[in-house]
Point group: C2
DNA sequence: CACAAATGGTTGCGCGCGCAACTTTTACGC
DNA sequence: GCGTAAAAGTTGCGCGCGCAACCATTTGTG
């Protein structure tokens, strides 16, 4: 414990991993949201709902909330907003009448089909800033943290 | 580009790096904020101001804003809040009377001295979930992304 | 079968954020 | 030096978020 005495005298925020991680997440999110915000008028919750419903047709709000780790009220409002824009539609579930099955409309599917390739291309562009081996290292480290924090799945 | 055709059919949010990064940042932030929130009654902006002022005595709000990448209004309100709690104090700068030099009070220095070791210990605990070499890989990858996005320093 | 507990989902409320506008002071251009 | 632009910092405003409370429905338990 003597070894870390020096680093405790002053905490350097710029070298502090939690801070760097947050700054990085914000930076990456901004880099990405250029696409779905300016180009398609989606904010973060709406984008996540679109992304989830696009691959899990007929899922419930509850499923979206768990899958995206967003608060259920945030999901509820994002869905309401997207429904008003006629990008998704809801039908009461036959099995459980508390639930409502969420689906993309025709316009929603069109947007999804246009949006996903652009977003994935952005991700590739971003990750192309480092060599393959380094990327593997980054992902492995992220996975370790996710496991430690009970986030992965 | 043929190789990625399959992955474009459906975007899996759980494997999407921007989303994972955001989730990770939130998780790490929560893991950390247990300390400064419940124990010291600080929220994220207040904690960042404390951390910055603690190592840069007499700095300005502008400096804090750049250093933490927070909006200047967010900084302004965090400072006002901390001043009300008498953890920091402000004195008009002699050189430039628009500025106000921000310093920790005696109580602020006491809290800082108590807080920083706990926070750094939390960081170490977190990073101890992976072997040393993997941590090096994670940090290298993060640095590459920071450079690419023009974030570092 | 009835009643309590739990679940899916929505809404009212308070709060904190970012934007824009503003005040005060300093720097720049001629 | 005077006037305009720019910078430090604060404040009013609208908005989106999370919390808690709520409604409707379903599940569990005696």
């Amino acid at each position: 414990m003597i070894a870390r005495a020096a680093s405790e005298l002053g905490l350097e925020l710029a070298a502090f991993v939690p801070y760097r991680l947050n700054r990085l997440a914000v930076g990456v999110s901004n880099h990405l949201s250029d696409i779905y915000r300016e180009r398609f008028g989606l904010d973060v919750p709406a984008w996540r709902v679109m992304a989830t419903v696009g691959s899990q047709h007929g899922c419930t709000a509850q499923y979206i909330a768990q899958s995206t780790r967003m608060h259920k009220t945030r999901v509820s409002r994002a869905i309401a907003h997207l429904e008003k824009r006629e990008l998704i539609e809801r039908a009461p579930s036959t099995a459980d009448r508390r639930e409502r099955e969420v689906r993309l409309t025709k316009a929603g599917r069109r947007m999804y089909a246009e949006l996903v390739p652009l977003v994935l291309e952005r991700e590739r562009d971003l990750l192309a800033c480092m060599p393959r081996e380094q990327l593997r290292g980054l992902l492995a480290g992220m996975e370790a943290l996710e496991t430690f924090l009970g986030l992965q799945d």
